[in-house]
């Protein structure tokens, strides 16, 4: 639903220039950016790393690091120019008019103060009246009670709540206003229902009246009126946290950030951002560090809250699918410039700028949608890269790796006694030669542990791995050494997996040297070959990792993995840390190599969208067990397990109608 644009814009950015002073002089980060946000509108800025999207957003509330400055252009908020505002005015603006939900939940919360304290700060600094809540649009329309309540928008505190529940229970059990008394069981159920509806620090008096009357009380007005004590600071904090989706908020507020999970921390950050009910909320990659199911829940919640409150939202993200799903308006930035801007559906359907076109083509979530759509239309989309087209149809291939009943138990030192932690619980699967098997799961599912065991980096507690028919546990140490040549890893972090002290040549040559393959000259030849294979120039040989970009480093990692001509490559989140376009290139490369060399891949990932593109078979892991194992087509078309369905539903852009290129006009039936 689009807002009417007859109103004045809430935020207007015109020709913004932001530069950073570095050792090499002034480096422009944003050039001539234009952006307009209307009240209540949701806008997303999409771009890769280095595109200037975060810088633009931070420049609005003057949060640039010391070396950054706004060097040109204007930013107007509610008509006032804020680039020239005084320090005090900016401080007033922050929190109260413009809120921020930052990116990394762990490092953005102060570890030594409790969550409640940090939320309180936001309330106190902005002089928020904690006794009242803004009447939320929809809810106020739903107020059914006729009984008027004085100060209907005042919030219920914890003391008042327990008092009101007591009143409710008593009046139900004793009967009142002509109503007969009810049984104990009915009363309990009614009280429980009211308990769930009345949220401390968040429910207004009027809503409380509603809840009580729905629970069976005849006229709740006077009872509510009788409660003179309103919500205090602690109550409001709990209320905010509850609104953000944190259960058991009163107790949780006293806890510390390290006792929260990632998702909980992000919810706390949302609560802080919205505490003072700002008119604009800047959400900087709010969910990129979280698991995909959690992501969905949080974004849903955020959307609901901001809609109720009428807050405009500015999303910063690199995920096009997510941006399109959650924002009405899309702005695409590339290298500091805004290259395209418009309604999100339109941009998705018809990208004009070549960069936008590339983005749209490469975004995995969109690609995954397109593949699904194409399938429904009976066509094979060109995004589909899997060898078997996702059907997993083996056609007579043998199993190169068979894993049977693999179990791994870790001993964790708890307080005093040791606890056993089963990271991998009775996992069995097989990998066909020349295909790609994806192991999907969220953090803590055990997929990396399985990968490590396959690479012989960990000993399994139980179970066996058969490689080409040979049981690995029967091998002696020198045989195992040989075995390692046939299975090679590619790890996630391109910055960590290459030794900064080694030249590229040395890095790729090392496996050859250790396994004593060929003479010196032959090895050099091989290194050149490998660099060609991964499409890097020969001159890279003499360079060092710190001179290369993330994508280039990951190519080196691939080259290194290929050096010994392995049969199986274990890719442990190999593309998760890369930008979307680079990701697409790497996936392309991996695919080509698979066809050329007949490699088999075990692809570990949390991103189902990527899985759609490249996997033939999928194993979904949860808490150490495989809960679903099938071909990609089956998993995506007819998922059996609830969890799998959740995962699928969590892919950003799941609800979009995306028409694959070249198929316009064909009705996806």
């Amino acid at each position: 639903m689009t807002q009417s644009h007859a109103q004045e814009p809430l935020l207007e950015i015109r020709d913004l220039d932001v530069s950073f002073t570095t050792a090499n002089g002034e480096v422009p980060a944003v050039r001539g950016a234009n952006l307009t946000i209307y009240p209540g509108q949701s806008v997303a800025i999409v771009g890769e790393s280095g595109s200037g999207k975060s810088t633009t957003a931070h420049a609005i509330i003057s949060l640039l690091p010391g070396t950054g400055r706004v060097t040109g252009g204007s930013i107007r908020f509610e008509g006032t120019e804020i680039t020239t505002a005084s320090k005090q005015e900016i401080v007033d603006l922050r929190g109260r008019s413009i809120g921020l939900v930052p990116q990394d939940p762990m490092s953005n919360l102060n570890p030594v103060w409790s969550i409640g304290f940090q939320v309180k700060e936001a309330l106190r600094a902005n002089n928020v009246d904690v006794t009242r809540g803004a009447r939320k649009g929809l809810e106020s329309a739903l107020v059914t009670s006729e009984t008027a309540v004085a100060d209907g928008d005042r919030l219920i505190g914890r003391k008042s709540k327990s008092a009101l529940l007591d009143v409710l229970r008593r009046s139900l059990l004793e009967g009142h206003d002509g109503k007969p008394p009810v049984s104990q069981k009915t009363a309990d159920a009614a009280v429980r229902a009211a308990d769930a509806r009345i949220v401390v620090g968040s429910t207004t008096r009027l809503e409380a009246v509603n809840a009580l009357e729905d629970a069976g009380m005849a006229t709740a007005g006077p009872a509510v009126d009788a409660q003179r004590v309103s919500a205090d600071l602690d109550d409001r904090v709990a209320g905010l946290l509850a609104e953000a989706g944190l259960p058991d908020a009163l107790r949780r507020a006293k806890q510390y950030p390290h006792e929260f999970s990632g998702g909980m921390r992000q919810r706390a950050l949302i609560a802080i951002g919205l505490a003072a009910r700002p008119k604009l909320l800047i959400a900087d990659e709010p969910t990129s560090a979280l698991d995909v199911t959690v992501q969905r829940t949080i974004l849903d919640h955020l959307e609901g809250l901001t809609r109720e409150l009428g807050t405009a939202v500015l999303f910063i993200t690199h995920d096009l699918g997510l941006a399109a799903e959650r924002a009405e308006h899309l702005v695409v930035m590339y290298r500091g410039k805004v290259v395209e801007s418009g309604p999100s559906r339109q941009i998705l359907a018809d990208p004009r700028h070549p960069y936008t076109q590339r983005l749209v083509a490469a975004a995995p979530s969109l690609a995954s949608r397109r593949i699904q759509s194409a399938k429904q239309a009976g066509v094979q989309a060109k995004e589909l890269k899997a060898t078997t087209g996702g059907t997993g149809a083996a056609g007579g291939r043998d199993d190169v790796v068979v894993v049977k009943n693999l179990t791994k138990v870790f001993q964790i030192r708890g307080s005093g006694k040791q606890k056993d932690f089963k990271a991998v619980d009775d996992v069995s699967f097989s990998l066909e030669r020349g295909t790609t098997m994806a192991l999907v799961g969220e953090s803590g599912s055990g997929k990396s542990t399985v990968a490590n065991i396959m690479l012989n980096l960990l000993e399994p507690t139980e179970g066996s791995i058969h490689f080409d028919g040979v049981d690995l546990s029967t091998l002696g140490s020198s045989e195992l050494f040989d075995f390692r040549r046939r299975v090679q890893p590619i790890f996630q972090n391109p910055y960590g997996s290459l030794d900064p002290m080694y030249s590229i040549f040395r890095t790729i040559e090392e496996p050859l040297r250790i396994h004593k393959v060929g003479s010196k000259k032959e090895r050099e030849q091989r290194v050149r070959e490998l660099l060609d294979m991964v499409a890097l120039p020969q001159s890279t040989m003499r360079r060092f990792p710190n001179e290369l970009s993330g994508g280039q480093r990951q190519r080196i990692a691939i080259a290194r993995a290929l050096a010994l001509r392995p049969e199986v490559i274990v890719c442990d989140e190999a593309v998760s840390a890369l930008d979307v376009l680079v990701q697409a290139q790497i996936l392309e490369l991996l695919n080509d190599l698979q066809t050329e060399l007949g490699l088999s891949y075990l692809f570990i990932t949390h991103d189902l969208a990527v899985v759609r593109q490249i996997a033939d078979r999928v194993c979904v892991m949860k808490s150490g067990r495989i809960i679903e194992a099938a071909t990609t087509d089956e998993v995506f078309d007819t998922p059996r397990e609830e969890y799998t369905r959740e995962l699928l539903g969590a892919i950003p852009g799941a609800n979009l109608d995306v028409v694959p290129a070249g198929l316009e006009g064909i009705d996806p039936a």
Binding site: V91, G95, P111, V112, E121, A122, A125, N126, H258
Partner: protein, 308 residues
């Protein structure tokens, strides 16, 4: 937590016995006969020397001497020094003075070190920061006794703002100069530590979030930056207490403070096992307790630390 404290305290017992045995053995192994030295340039008549040796149990084998000493400890009788004073009295006199001196030094280095370090960290790269860095470098580089003598001469003798020595006149005024000199090097360390910590934490993500919440700069610094920056500083201060208690020999000599350092040094020169062992053992205990307190404080400051 209580079990943790209990465990740490129990660990002190073997350390205590080990330390006393080790120190006793070391004093025993010192070359030179302390009894001969008592005679001065003249030397003692051998018969008299033997008598004195018998009196102090120095004619018995090492282990017997050690066990006799331990027996005394149980009754809190730490033996006598060669001049006939009970070591317990020497302890009761020397330790409180040094403790007071060390406390004053700690307060000085903590208050000023943190204050200046905070300002320097906030204004990194500016004049104040540069000045403070140079001054702290000088303080670290110049030996303590030079600082001590210079301070004593200027403020005690020339300007006469404070009494040049402490001697028997133990008061806040007279202890002020030695406390400053004693804490000077640590002050420089605390300053630099705070400065680095503050500068680091200023660019932390949560500081940016706090600013984005709309907090004033002052509040951001005091509540968020300072508290987090203090954690390494506090651990340093705690360890420093033990070091200051035992290592103040030079400063105590310059300002004539009758504390642990000087007394211990004299006792070592004379080769007095009773005094040396008692003093060093007490210092060991002080150090251990100090470390325990720092660890506990650490847990208080940083809620991520929880002891089993």
């Amino acid at each position: 937590m209580v079990r943790y404290i209990g465990r740490r305290l129990l660990q002190m017992i073997p350390v205590f016995f080990g330390a006393t045995l080790l120190i006793y053995a070391m004093v025993f192994a010192l070359p030179g006969d302390p009894i001969q030295a008592l005679g001065g340039d003249r030397g003692l008549a051998p018969a008299v020397a033997d008598q004195i040796r018998e009196q102090y149990n120095l004619d018995k084998p090492f282990f017997v001497q050690y066990l006799l000493y331990l027996k005394g400890i149980v009754t809190l009788d730490f033996g006598n020094s060669f001049s006939g004073q009970p070591v317990m009295d020497i302890v009761k006199r020397a330790f409180p003075i040094t403790f007071r001196l060390a406390m004053m030094a700690i307060v000085f280095e903590a208050v000023f070190g943190i204050l200046f370090g905070l300002i320097a960290g906030l204004r990194k790269g500016k004049i104040f920061d540069a000045t403070v860095l140079v001054v702290s470098l000088l303080v670290i580089a110049v030996p303590t006794f030079v600082i001590g003598f210079v301070v004593q001469f200027f403020f005690g003798v020339r300007l006469q703002w404070f009494p040049p020595t402490v001697g028997g006149n133990v008061s806040f005024e007279s202890l002020l100069m030695p406390a400053v000199v004693l804490g000077a090097v640590s002050f420089a360390y605390v300053l630099r530590l705070t400065r680095t910590s503050v500068a680091e934490n200023l660019s932390a993500d949560y500081v940016r979030t706090a600013t984005a919440k709309g907090l004033s700069r002052g509040r951001v610094v005091n509540v968020h930056v300072l508290r987090n920056s203090l954690i390494p500083v506090v651990t340093f201060l705690g360890a420093d207490l033990g070091a200051l208690m035992g290592g103040a020999i030079v400063t105590e000599g310059i300002f004539n403070v009758a504390g642990v350092g000087g007394t211990l040094y004299q006792a070592i020169i004379r080769g007095e096992p009773t005094t040396v062992v008692t003093f060093v053992t007490i210092l060991v205990v002080v150090y251990i307790v100090g470390n325990l307190l720092v660890d506990l404080l650490y847990a208080v400051l940083d809620p991520r630390i929880r002891y089993a």
